[in-house]
């Protein structure tokens, strides 16, 4: 287990380094980082300080290392709109995004997992086919189409819910529903195939043949084994929720990090874009690491030391 944990930590660290390097490369490709980070109106002394801090007169590998240092210190430039530190601007929006991505994630699990399990248990019946047909929408309907369609139905035609803004909890319903439904469909499909694969294993038949009631076979044997591959898809869902938030927040004018990213890109507020890229990178690496470690904890094959074989 220790070896596994260490190797996963190592992988996470390497991925982080690659993400930061990518940000560094993109940043350097676009021209003067000083202009980008500080904006055109900063005083010359600020530029000079920036050049010193980031080592812009020095060889590229020094700049690379100084970039890492700058990240750790949180000194990542200022938003062009209001001159505030970019990190601050992003961080204050983070909880607003979490306010919809969190419940959406829960919705994904609470709808998707049972749907997939039920579909698997009632394979090839009308129920299974119905669930699968509906869940195909998760793959083929883009989040903006889903969002706009829901808005069209519930906000425009039925007028039950508001279509934009973030004043009341009612405003959160449509964004959460959009991301929740799409993610639930994906999880349902995946859970179903994971369950089917487990159910096809000989040991399930053996358990049932031993006389165990079917319910117990499913709960004790099938579910825990199907949980393992399902974990990986959950890690993937975090990423797609983040990506979905970008579009959904734009549709519903929800003032979270996603919407901030879109406006920052449109306005070329590059300091903010950079911070968001790094922040999401770190978040994703942390999420994947958590999934990997959970994986290692749940799967006894990884947890227990391999026993020596033979003489």
């Amino acid at each position: 287990m220790l070896g596994y944990t260490l190797s996963r930590l190592g992988r996470a660290a390497v991925t982080l380094i690659i993400v930061v390097s990518l940000a560094f490369v993109i940043l350097r490709l676009t021209g003067d980082p000083g202009q980008i980070m500080l904006g055109p109106d900063a005083p010359p002394s600020a530029y000079a300080a920036f050049r010193r801090n980031w080592g812009l007169d020095q060889p590229i590998w020094v700049q690379y290392l100084k970039y890492f240092a700058a990240i750790f210190e949180g000194d990542l430039g200022r938003s062009m709109r209001d001159g505030r530190p970019a990190l601050e601007v992003v961080m204050e929006r983070a909880p607003i995004t979490l306010a919809i991505t969190g419940p959406a994630f829960l919705m994904n699990l609470m709808i998707g997992l049972p749907a997939g399990i039920i579909a698997a248990l009632h394979r090839n019946t009308a129920l299974d086919r119905a669930i699968m047909t509906v869940s195909v929408l998760g793959f083929t309907v883009p989040s903006f189409v889903m969002g706009l369609t829901l808005a069209l139905i519930f906000a425009v035609q039925l007028r039950w819910l508001p279509s934009g803004g973030s004043d009341t909890w009612a405003h959160a319903v449509l964004p959460i529903a959009t991301m929740g439904l799409i993610g639930a469909a994906v999880i349902a499909r995946f859970t179903r195939s994971a369950m089917l694969e487990v159910m096809g294993q000989p040991y399930i038949r053996t358990a049932s043949a031993k006389g165990l009631p079917w319910r117990e076979v499913v709960v004790t044997h099938a579910l825990p084994n199907a949980a393992i591959p399902t974990l990986t898809i959950i890690g993937f869902m975090v990423g797609s929720l983040v990506a979905g938030a970008v579009v959904v927040e734009s549709i519903f004018s929800w003032p979270g990090v996603g919407r901030l990213l879109v406006t920052a890109v449109a306005n070329r507020d590059l300091a903010v874009v950079q911070v968001i890229l790094l922040a999401i990178g770190f978040t994703m690496v942390a999420a994947n690491l958590a999934v990997d470690l959970a994986y290692g904890w749940i799967d006894p094959r990884l947890r227990l030391k391999p026993t020596p074989t033979g003489a």
């Binding site: 083929t140 369609t149 069209l152 590059l270």
Partner: protein, 307 residues
């Protein structure tokens, strides 16, 4: 007395078997055909064929030039909602014909998606093969790149690149070409390693073949079917990604139009003229759905072991 719901009545094949004792059934040719090509697949193939025709000849069949504005005919509804056949799918806020714009958008979106998928496949196969052939450190580096790409949601990466490097059409297509390469690389590497363990690759190497020949003339043809299936799975996802970015205004720029940007423009008129948004949205869903159905079917046909 046989019950009406007894098995012999329900399944004509069993009835045949019970009657004649033979295992040959009298399944009609139609039934056999539909078993081989399920109706959903047929519909999907039909839609895809239609879109391919549109891609090929879109500029020739548009009733109007998609850029032409006619401010006297703004926001006219489609023909089934009160409009007339002059504009079968209505007009948008600048009086441009929605049908014409739809046809051109389909072409733009699909061409971009096709080129991007091709780039992703080329990149993925090249790096996957390189990792399989070189092993050792090069392989580790490539695996780390694959992991890193898989960790980040591509939308975020794309937005960052678009912010920093601008969004010319060429750059945009190239950027989308980086979507999905890591999955193809993983598959290509796995298949190449399995193939080289299979002996025929070693044997050809022992004949004195260069690595290009080994990979190009022997390994690649043997794994081509699996790769093509992966590409058909990648294709609809690129369409969705491109539409999403264009919807946000960051992808295909005017005067060009794509399905996503049409939805983006139509969004402001969701209350008054919903058809501007619905036509391209329906096209997106229908196209990605069809390609997914065909991809699933191909996968079941060619390689049931691939999930």
């Amino acid at each position: 007395m046989t019950d009406a719901t007894s098995p012999a009545r329900r399944d004509p094949e069993d009835a045949d078997r019970a009657r004649t004792g033979s295992v040959f059934t009298t399944k009609s040719r139609a039934a056999a055909f539909f078993e081989r090509f399920p109706p959903a697949v047929l519909l999907a193939l039909a839609w895809v064929a239609m879109t391919l025709v549109v891609v090929a000849i879109a500029p020739l069949i548009t009733p109007y030039d998609f850029k032409v504005m006619d401010l006297r005919a703004r926001l006219m509804p489609p023909v089934f909602a009160g409009g007339d056949w002059a504009h079968p799918l209505g007009t948008d806020e600048l009086g441009r014909d929605v049908l014409s714009r739809l046809l051109i958008s389909v072409r733009v979106s699909l061409v971009i998606a096709f080129l991007s998928t091709l780039i992703a496949a080329t990149l993925g196969v090249a790096l996957g093969f390189l990792a399989a052939w070189a092993r050792g450190r090069t392989e580790q580096v490539i695996l780390m790149l694959i992991d890193a790409q898989a960790a980040m949601p591509f939308m975020i990466l794309a937005l960052a690149v678009l912010a920093f490097l601008g969004n010319s059409l060429a750059l945009f297509t190239l950027l989308l070409g980086f979507y999905g390469w890591e999955r193809i690389a993983r598959i290509a590497r796995g298949l190449a390693i399995a193939a080289s363990e299979q002996g025929y690759a070693t044997a050809v190497r022992d004949l004195g073949a260069s690595p290009w020949r080994i990979y190009g003339r022997h390994i690649l043809p043997n794994i081509a079917s699996t790769l093509i299936v992966s590409m058909t799975l990648n294709f609809p996802e690129v369409i969705l990604l491109e539409s999403g970015l264009s919807f946000l205004g960051l992808g295909v720029q005017p005067p060009l139009t794509s399905l996503g940007s049409m939805v983006g423009y139509g969004r402001d008129y969701i209350q008054s003229a919903a058809w501007i948004m619905l036509a391209p949205a329906a096209a997106i869903v229908a196209t990605t759905l069809s390609i997914s159905i065909i991809g699933d079917w191909l996968r079941d046909l060619l390689d049931p072991t691939l999930r």
